[in-house]
C-alpha cells in the first residue's frame, strides 16, 4: 500500500515551502509555535479574529524567526526592535492583531527598554518571549536569563550576573496580562495565547523552552529528551502564582501560570479618547 502523505492540520498557518525549518533537533520552538497556532485557530474558528488581520513581528534570533515561517502578514526586523516596529504597525492600523515573537535576548536583552515602555504604555500588542537561557543563534553566549554561574562562550569562567526575572519586571508595569508557560506544558501556551488574543492592552507570555544543542551542552543536558524531561520535572503549575514565585530557579522549580490578568484601558483606548 502506498504511503499517503496527509497535510498537517496546522499547515494552513505556515509557509510550508520554507519547511524544513532551521531549528535543531530537540528545539522547543516547534512545540511553542504549534501551541500558539492552535490557540489562534480557535479564535479564527469562533470568528473573533480574521486571519487577514494578524501580523507577526520578530526581531533577530532563533525564536524571532518564527515570524517568517507563519503564513500571515509578517516582519522579520532588527535585533531587539520587534516591539517598536509592532507599536508602529498597531498605531497605524488599530484593527490589526499584532504579535511579537522573540527570544529572551531579543526581547529582554537588547530590546529590554522597548519591553518596559510597551508594558508601561499598555500598548495593545501581544509579546511572546521564548526563554532558553542562552544566545543560541550566535553560538551560545550569555543571555539576560542565564542562571548565575553557568559557563557560556562569553562567560567561560561562569556567569557572574544574576538573571533577569522578566515576568516580575513586566508585571511591575502596566501590562494587562503576564503569564508563563513551558514547552513541556503546550496546553497552557495554547490556553494563554488564546486568552491573550481576546484581550486588550499589553499582553506578555513567557515560554520557557529547551535548547539542547547550544544551552544543553553548557549544562550537561545535550540529549533533547533528557533536557525536556529535566525541565518537565522542574515546572510547577500554579493557577495564580505570586510575583515572589516568579524567579526562574532551576533547583527550586519554575512556576508557571497567570501572574497578572487585568482589563485596564489599552493605549489605543486612550488615544481614541484623546482624539475626541
Amino acid at each position: 500500500m502506498a504511503l499517503t502523505i496527509k497535510t498537517h492540520p496546522l499547515d494552513r498557518h505556515l509557509r510550508t515551502d520554507r519547511i524544513p525549518t532551521l531549528y535543531c533537533p530537540g528545539c522547543g520552538l516547534g512545540i511553542g509555535l504549534g501551541a500558539m497556532l492552535r490557540g489562534l485557530q480557535k479564535r479564527i474558528d469562533e470568528g473573533s479574529i480574521s486571519p487577514d488581520s494578524v501580523v507577526w513581528v520578530g526581531g533577530i534570533g532563533c525564536s524571532a524567526r518564527l515570524s517568517f515561517y507563519v503564513n500571515y502578514d509578517s516582519a522579520h526586523v532588527l535585533h531587539g526592535r520587534a516591539i517598536p516596529f509592532a507599536v508602529g504597525v498597531k498605531l497605524a492600523n488599530p484593527e490589526l492583531t499584532v504579535i511579537v515573537v522573540g527570544g529572551d535576548g531579543d526581547i529582554a536583552g537588547i530590546g529590554g527598554n522597548h519591553l518596559l515602555h510597551a508594558a508601561r504604555r499598555n500598548i495593545d500588542i501581544i509579546t511572546v518571549m521564548f526563554t532558553n537561557f542562552v544566545y543560541a543563534m550566535t553560538g551560545g553566549q550569555v543571555a539576560p536569563t542565564t542562571p548565575l554561574g553557568v559557563r557560556t562562550t562569553t562567560t567561560p569562567h561562569g556567569n557572574p550576573e544574576p538573571p533577569l526575572d522578566v515576568v516580575k519586571v513586566v508585571s511591575s508595569l502596566n501590562a494587562n496580562y503576564v503569564a508563563r508557560a513551558s514547552i513541556t506544558t503546550p496546553h497552557y501556551i495554547e490556553q494563554y495565547f488564546y486568552k491573550a488574543l481576546g484581550m486588550r492592552g499589553f499582553r506578555f507570555i513567557e515560554v520557557v523552552s529547551t535548547c539542547p544543542e547550544v544551552y544543553g551542552r553548557h549544562i550537561g543536558l545535550r540529549d533533547p529528551v533528557e533536557m525536556y524531561n529535566e525541565l518537565k520535572k522542574r515546572v510547577i503549575y500554579k493557577p495564580r502564582p505570586t510575583l515572589e514565585e516568579a524567579a526562574i530557579n532551576w533547583e527550586k522549580g519554575i512556576v508557571i501560570g497567570e501572574y497578572i490578568v487585568r482589563d485596564n484601558p489599552g493605549f489605543i483606548d486612550f488615544l481614541r479618547g484623546g482624539n475626541k
Binding site: H76, L78, P84, V87, G88, A92, N93, L96
Partner: protein, 372 residues
Amino acid sequence: MRKVFASGNIAVAEAAMTAGLKFYAGYPITPSSDLMEYLAEELPRRGGVVIQMEDEIASINAIIGASNAGVKSMTATSGPGLSLMAEGIGLAVITETPIVIAHVMRAGPSTGVPTKTTQSDIFMVRWLTHGDYIIPSFAPWSVQEAFDLTIKAFNTSEKLRTPVFILSDAILAHVWEPLVVKEPGEVEIIERKTPRSKEGYMPYLPDEDLVPPMAPFGKGYKVLVESLVHDEKGYYAPNNEKYKQLVTRLNAKITRNIDWLFEYEGFFLDDADIVLVAYGSVARTVFALAKQLRSSGLRTGLFRPKTLWPLHEKVIRDRIKGRKIIVVENNIGKLALDVERILCDREVYKAPVLNLESPTLKEVKEAVTQWL
C-alpha cells in the same frame, strides 16, 4: 493655498501633512524638537498619530512598522539622534519601506553644541549605515523650499520605496519667513504602488521600474517584510546571485531616476569665470557674496544643489563652467571632495567655514578670496 509666517521646522511639518503624513514617532532633540511639537498639536486633528517613543531607535523602527501597515510616516532628529537611527534606516533600505527623516543638523561630534548649526552631517546621511545603498537627500535653503522639498521627499519615498532625508540645519529650522502652504490638490502627491492581484503576490518582485508594488498589512497579501538579504518572496537568500541582484536593484532604482531626483539652482552661470558651490542655509550668504563679487567686476556664479545625494554628475559637469570652482560649506570641506572628483579637469578649492552661527558675509568672503 495659505500664506503664513513660519519656521523651517513648521514648513517641513506642514508639507508632511500636505503629502499625507499619518504617523509620526520621534524623540525630542534640539534643534528638531519643535517640529514634533507642532505635529503633536496638528496631526491628530487631521486624522494622524504622533507618539513620543522611548528613544530614537524605537522611533525609527515604529515609523517603519507604520509604513508597512500602509500609512505615510516620518520622524525628525538631530546629530546624536541620527547616529542612533542608523541601523533602522538600513532596515528601511533593505525592506524598501517608504519613510521620511528630517535631519536638522547641529554641531558635533557627539553631543556637540545642541543649539547651534553646522553642515557637518552631509556625509552622515550619505554613508550612515552598513551595506551598499543610496538614500536620496534634499537640502533646502529657505522656509519655502523646506516645504517644497519635503513634498518631494515624500513623493520620492513613495515612488521609489525608499527612506529619504530632508537635510535641514539649526538656522533653517528656526528662521521665520513667509511661507505659501499648498494644500493637497494644489501640488502633485505621489502614492506608493499597490499590487494588482493577491494571486502570486511577492513583496519584493519589482516591476520594470525596479520598484515592487507594496501591499499593506491587513489586506490578505501575506506580506513578508525581511531584513535579511532576500529573494522576491522575501525569503532569506544567502547566496551571491540573490545578494548581487538585490543590492544592484536597490541602488539602480535610485540612480535610474536621477533626472527626476536631482534639483539645483544656478545663478549667473552662463558667463561665470568663477563658480561658487554652496547648499542649504549657508548658500544664502554665498549668494550675497556672488552678487557682491560680480558687482565688483568678477564674473562669479553660484551653483546650488538642492539634491545632495545622489549628485547628478553630468549636470554638474555641464552646468559648472569656468576656470575656478570654490566650494563653500560650514564643515571641514565635504561636498568639495565630490565636486573635485566630478570636475577633475578644473581647479576646485575648498572654502570651509567653521561657525556655530550662520557664517557672516565677511567670513565667507575671507574663505573665498584666498583662492581668487
